[in-house]
């Protein structure tokens, strides 16, 4: 392998003044035809291409990205990774993903800085606590690490948190998944791109898909801003833009695209040890390795493709954070931004075949799909390669919206970040 990354290659390249590093991925022109096209160069799309090549030996693959890879939600999320989901279907899928995370840096030979510092979901009402027990209990039975913490135990892990029982919505407890954590979002996209490129996948940027062609009910290729590209299989992983692509194929989707915002503080010396999420006061926070506090703001109620949301949402979230951490009131917000999240009615993804043969959709991850990146790519590659869902994603098909077999994660699991 050309340019394997390690401390040794770093030293070797330092000697030659870093002039000899090869490209992490090429920037090829599109070929006229591929065996499979992946629409969307986010983490999920790139992972799909990577696993298609690696696990299914399908290497004549193009990933078409309208902008720059990782510039969608992959590049703008708060990077929380956990698998403590309530419902079996979701738990198994996310746990598969978490297992892949645990070896991802080595697998990709790209340090995605996956930091298993634990994720805490706080409970502030009696019902929150019932839900926490319910979820933790389900997690344990599913073989997923999860514990319930008392306020004192929370304080022990996170010394500056406010556990006063006089608070407006006092912290009554939390669930805690020690294996959860955060990762370096950009590195995930880049690592998968580099990995896929190594297998010969073409990662093509600045190439927007503008149409999906089909003949006799089967997909034949896609129109793009760089011309028509033929392929018998097209996997769409376009997150916030899924409805548009469905529209190109004449399909309707149970998806709404909403602005979801996040913000960071200035970099600080380590002050937070874990990831803290609170549904009731609505805010979540972690600290990146670089030192900035990464705060998830809320979703706007309205549909929005603007990659920006309402300032009041930011205000509410910061208030929640200061409520939880009154010591952060002198910390400053550096930057805020937004993403376009594709929300499904049951807060669970769609990873599915479609009525069009050879056309597959992977979307609806909404506010919580970063953690699923490797797992989602893994099952989607399987689904595309075999033209049938893997057991792990069978429940996440489009049909559930007609039969009613929803996997209602907001029902009880609360925020799905």
């Amino acid at each position: 392998m050309k340019n394997k990354y390690s401390i040794f290659s770093l030293v070797r390249n330092a000697v030659s003044y870093h002039q000899n590093w090869s490209q992490a991925w090429r920037s090829p022109d599109p070929k006229p035809a591929y065996d499979a096209i992946i629409v969307g160069g986010g983490g999920h799309g790139l992972a799909t291409a990577y696993y298609l090549a690696k696990e299914h030996s399908i290497t004549r693959v193009a990933v078409l990205e309208k902008g720059w890879i990782g510039g969608g939600n992959t590049g703008r999320n708060t990077t929380i990774v956990r698998s403590n989901y309530l419902w079996d279907e979701a738990a198994h899928l996310y746990e598969k993903s978490l297992k892949l995370w645990e070896g991802l840096s080595q697998e990709l030979n790209y340090n995605v800085m996956f930091s298993q510092r634990g994720v805490m979901n706080l409970g502030h009402t009696l019902q929150d606590m019932r839900d926490i027990v319910r979820r933790s209990s389900a997690n344990q039975l599913n073989g997923i690490d999860s514990e319930v913490l008392t306020p004192a135990q929370i304080k022990n892990i996170e010394p500056t948190i406010n556990i006063s029982q006089q608070a407006r919505y006092p912290i009554l407890g939390a669930s805690f998944q020690p294996r959860g954590g955060v990762a370096r979002h950009d590195a995930v996209a880049w690592g998968f791109a580099r990995g896929a490129d190594r297998y010969g996948v073409d990662v093509i940027q600045n190439c927007e898909v503008t149409g999906i062609r089909q003949q006799n009910g089967s997909v034949t290729g896609v129109d793009t801003t760089r011309g028509f590209i033929a392929a018998p299989k097209v996997g769409v992983v376009a997150a916030g833009h899924s409805s548009l692509l469905a529209d190109y194929a004449g399909l309707r989707m149970p998806i709404e695209s909403h602005p979801l915002q996040a913000l960071v503080s200035e970099p600080l010396k380590p002050v937070l040890n874990t990831v803290i999420m609170s549904n009731a006061v609505h805010g979540y926070i972690s600290q990146s390795d670089k030192g900035e506090l990464v705060v998830g703001a809320g979703i706007d109620s309205y549909i929005g493709y603007g990659q920006r949301g309402s300032y009041s949402v930011i205000e509410g979230n910061i208030a929640a954070i200061v409520e939880l951490f009154p010591n952060f009131s002198r910390v400053k917000m550096l930057r805020q931004w937004g993403g376009i999240v594709d929300v499904c009615p049951d807060a669970c993804p769609i990873i599915s075949l479609t009525p069009v043969k050879g056309l597959y959709f992977n979307c609806g991850w909404g506010t919580g799909g970063f953690k699923a990146t490797p797992g989602s790519g893994w099952v989607f590659a399987y689904t595309i390669a075999r033209n049938t869902p893997h057991g792990l994603n069978a429940a996440f098909d489009l049909n559930r919206f007609y039969t009613g077999a929803l996997i209602d994660e907001h029902g009880a699991a609360g925020v799905a970040h």
């Binding site: 548009l244 149970p254 998806i255 709404e256 695209s257 309205y302 549909i303 929005g304 493709y305 309402s310």
Partner: protein, 94 residues
């Protein structure tokens, strides 16, 4: 931060309103006669348009009236508001 023109109260801060999603989704007259697919389509499938989009808002903290707006979902600019039952400036909704 939107400022929304309530057809009755005029321009007010977004915080006074609640959102109702896509406008002109008519509840089927005889749901029992619908197939599961058609019912699922009514329940869940949405246009989710990028661009000019007809949607519902309610002036919850004001006059409590629901109304429709044509808003560009990318620029967030509200191009028109009209009352329930009135015709969209974009013509008859299908």
């Amino acid at each position: 931060m939107l400022s929304i023109d309530c057809p009755w109260c005029g321009s007010r801060d977004q915080s006074e309103f609640s959102y109702g999603g896509e406008a002109h989704i008519v509840r089927p007259k005889e749901p029992e006669k619908l197939s599961d697919e058609d019912w699922g389509d009514y329940l869940f499938n949405r246009k989710n348009t990028k661009g000019r989009f007809e949607e519902q808002w309610c002036h919850t903290a004001g006059c409590r009236r629901w109304f429709n707006a044509v808003r560009d979902s990318q620029s967030y600019k509200i191009e028109a508001v009209y009352k329930i039952g009135e015709q969209s400036p974009d013509g008859i909704p299908e």
